[in-house]
Symmetry: C2
Subunit: 311 residues, 2 copies
């Protein structure tokens, strides 16, 4: 009988829900908005209904092996979403329990970066690796750290917050209240801040940019400030990767998320700066790769990988 898993990626704006098999073949994909349901139960009821519809539309016989959920501040140990800043529902949400009651299958939850790391392990470039780190660079910077084939969760389930390690002592103020966090520099918002700073430092009068895609386009057109902004970002990321190597000794880093779509413009210099800062024993041994899973489908794969990983 066909084994299927449901992968759900809960973002601040949208929620995507998919049904996949173990090879990553997609049987169904739906997107709904995450906002505007009033309470959490109403939101879940919409998802439940949607899943029931999608499952009943599958023609062949199958067994539902489980449901994997990627969500901001998803706690793997407790099956909860805890104090997620960009969701409408506050406090601790017992999401795994609610799903369990409805579907009577194993439910697993973690944050989106951890889900991305499992996605890379089950479906992507890390299939044959036991030690690697996936870095998702979007609005912020998340990381999923795999050690000996297992995700690093730590004592409380929230380990792996590379975005909130210090890149520059007393540097930029971060949303978390700390200063100099890596994600204040290496993120879609961070590179915009860098670009604006470069303009004002050099007293260049130029159209302001609204997002990192515009900086990417400017860089491709040869705009010096945009190119410098990517180089500055890569420098800080490369140094952070070198530190992560000293901690974890991984085989590879996989870069994913919005800013990773800049490809070699970000990844090539990042690799160079990492090499400059690596301990001697690690030089020319650690890969820095673009994730093999990109786009919205990758979030479904990552979430569903939670199911196969436990299976």
């Amino acid at each position: 009988m066909k084994e299927l898993a449901i992968g759900i990626d809960i973002g601040g704006t949208n929620t995507v829900i998919g049904i996949v098999d173990k090879s990553g073949n997609l049987y169904s994909e739906k997107k709904i908005t995450t906002k505007g349901y009033g309470n959490f139960e109403s939101y879940l009821n919409v998802i439940f209904l949607l899943i029931q519809n999608e499952l009943s539309a599958i023609k062949e016989t199958f067994r539902l092996s489980g449901i994997g959920i990627g969500a901001p501040n998803g706690n793997y140990y407790k099956g909860t979403i805890e104090h997620a800043a960009n969701l409408e529902w506050k406090g601790i949400l017992p999401i795994a329990e609610k799903f369990k009651k409805q579907f009577k299958v194993p439910i697993h939850i973690t944050n989106d970066a951890n889900a991305a790391a499992l996605g890379e392990k089950i479906y992507g470039g890390a299939k044959n690796m036991k030690h690697f780190i996936v870095i998702t660079i979007g609005t912020g910077l998340g990381s999923g750290i795999v050690i000996n084939g297992n995700l690093l969760y730590g004592a409380d389930g929230f380990a792996g917050e590379m975005g909130h390690t210090t890149a520059i002592v007393d540097g930029r103020l971060c949303g978390c209240g700390r200063k100099g966090c890596l994600e204040t520099y290496v993120s879609a918002t961070g590179i915009v801040r860098t670009y604006q700073e470069l303009l004002s430092e050099n007293q260049i009068i130029q159209k302001q940019v609204n997002n990192s895609e515009e900086i990417y386009r400017l860089a491709l057109q040869g705009n010096a400030s945009a190119i410098k902004a990517f180089d500055y970002t890569a420098n800080i990321l490369g140094k952070a990767l070198a530190d992560a190597v000293a901690y974890f000794s991984p085989e590879a880093f996989f870069i994913t998320g919005g800013l990773a779509e800049a490809g070699d413009l970000l990844i090539k210099p990042t690799k160079t700066y990492m090499e400059e800062n690596l301990l001697e024993i690690y030089k020319n041994k650690i890969m820095v790769l673009q994730s093999e899973l990109q786009g919205s489908f990758s979030a479904i794969l990552g979430a569903s990988a939670l199911v196969w990983n436990e299976y």
Copy 2:
């Protein structure tokens, strides 16, 4: 029958060899110099002879469960010592193989900080913990990181080099060739450097110090520069611990090694600075403790813990 293990701690200057039981009772302790044997084999032959003598002196019946070795650049996966800067023998030394041939029992090797972490787990303050980090602050700074009850070795066996993560970008030149490594600030040599810098910055004419113990004594006597040197060291260590918490989410840090003997003079302000820099969810949750295993005996316990940990 009594189960016994041999713990061997190989340092740049001395090698200590002990026989212990699982409760940490010491049956024998010997110290020899590590230097002046010409080749590695001659050194090992002295150790072999010494162990045979000590074993034959034990009156009760026993079984030798294994031998654990803590050594600079000890590679757990390969059973080798690799390119240890402070040993006389260069290259890759297949030490586990040599011991195995002689004693026909399981042989385990790792570096001294990892051995200290296992010692803390088997005999010390981490008996009931699954996630903790032991930091040894001596000439340099080493760390042994325990995740889910297991030491972090990484892909190559050398993971957990917290001493070579960046404390200050483009900071002090480190022996490893990098700049701003944590151990250039937080170590016995680092605090001496800090103290000298404070004297010259403030144009204080004062007797130079030769080691960290003198700074400790001066601080206890109320010397402002010495007190400031400890505070500066604690500040940098506290920030590094906060970053390590974001990565690993440990239950506790255990501080050991020469500089840890300063006790509260180092540990209290370190805890304060860590708290100031912690992510909100970790505040007032992470312990910073002095190791329960101190002195030369602790190195034997740490090395022997390698045996019980695998047992």
